[in-house]
């Protein structure tokens, strides 16, 4: 078992603020694509053990119905994966992306839209976080895990019947929504155990500066 890392309350506060800045960049990227104001929630930071992940997943999706899931890995000083949940009607904002409201998009085009949006917000958020920590990371292409599936399938679709192959992860959760539109996005960034030592070192330096 790898060494478990703990973060102090002050370090978690610093991480929340860093994630806030990353989230701001992601919100700005989404707003630029949609041409409207995107509402941001306070990011949530928590250390997660793999043994508790199923319970956490069930809690996270308990009020959701059908969802779309995009998955995107990243590597470098920061390694892990981002999992983006988008509401069933995410592509209902196609008019904000330049399509006619009456225009019908086939499934392939709908998926492409969701992948593009996910990539845009994940990339902006992660690079914003990496820059604050003075660490590097690069993203793999996004991958559609599921399209309009019941939310209760969330854990099984991501991990199958197995536990993840890590003991501990740092989870950053950021949420976006639009006013008076059905669009919402819930992003979970899991930083791998391998990254935690470097993250802690960077955060410690920031706290001492």
């Amino acid at each position: 078992m790898s060494e478990q890392i703990d973060f102090t309350i002050e370090e978690l506060d610093i991480l929340t603020e860093i994630s806030n800045i990353g989230m701001g960049k992601a919100g700005s990227a989404l707003a630029e694509a949609l041409g409207c104001l995107v509402y941001l929630n306070v990011p949530e930071i928590m250390l997660v053990k793999s043994s508790g992940l199923k319970e956490l997943s069930d809690e996270l999706i308990k009020n959701l119905e059908d969802i779309n899931i995009v998955r995107q890995a990243f590597s470098g000083d920061l390694t892990g994966e981002a999992i983006i949940l988008l509401g069933k009607a995410a592509y209902s904002i196609k008019d904000l992306l330049g399509y006619e409201p009456s225009e019908t998009l086939n499934q392939a085009r709908q998926k492409e839209l969701l992948l593009d949006m996910s990539n845009s917000i994940t990339s902006a958020c992660l690079q914003g976080i990496a820059r604050q920590l003075s660490l590097d990371t690069s993203l793999s292409p996004p991958n559609m895990v599921c399209f309009e599936q019941p939310a209760k399938m969330f854990y099984r679709l991501l991990f199958g019947n197995n536990k993840p192959n890590w003991d501990q992860s740092l989870l950053v959760r950021v949420k976006f929504h639009l006013k008076n539109r059905e669009f919402w996005s819930d992003m979970f960034i899991f930083f791998s155990q391998k990254s935690l030592g470097k993250i802690k070192q960077s955060v410690k330096s920031l706290g001492e500066s």
Binding site: I14, E17, G24, G27, S28, L40, V42
Partner: protein
């Protein structure tokens, strides 16, 4: 006489970084609040020359504070929004709601100084 300053941000680290960015010889008397509700309590209990206001906060966020203050004729202070939310529409909305300045995080000392001078606070 020192300027009376209210800092509103849920992050202790962020409040500390802001204070570090204040000009060296700027004489200030600082009060801190961790969310919009605490900020409104502070604003109704004494007069402040300037409020530094974060947007993304629990309970009552920065937009909520600005909306309340727009309807309060009895509370006057310069409002500098200091935020990670850098969307142009967020900036526009803050200005419409009465913010004097909109400063992106991480805060640049020189931009802060320039804005303080522009508003006669330095």
């Amino acid at each position: 006489m020192p300027y009376s300053v209210l800092i509103v941000d849920d992050s202790a680290f962020s409040r500390r970084m802001l204070k570090k960015a204040f000009p060296e010889k700027w004489e200030v008397d600082i009060t801190e609040a961790t969310n919009g509700n605490e900020a409104l309590v502070a604003l109704t209990s004494r007069k402040f020359d300037i409020m530094f206001l974060d947007l993304t906060m629990p309970e009552l966020d920065g937009f909520g504070v600005l909306e309340v203050l727009k309807n309060r004729q009895d509370i006057h202070c310069k409002i500098f929004v200091v935020t990670a939310d850098i969307q142009p529409k967020a900036k526009q909305l803050c200005k419409e709601l009465g913010a004097s300045a909109f400063l992106p995080k991480p805060l640049d000392k020189e931009i802060l100084q320039k804005n303080l001078k522009q508003h006669g606070l330095l």
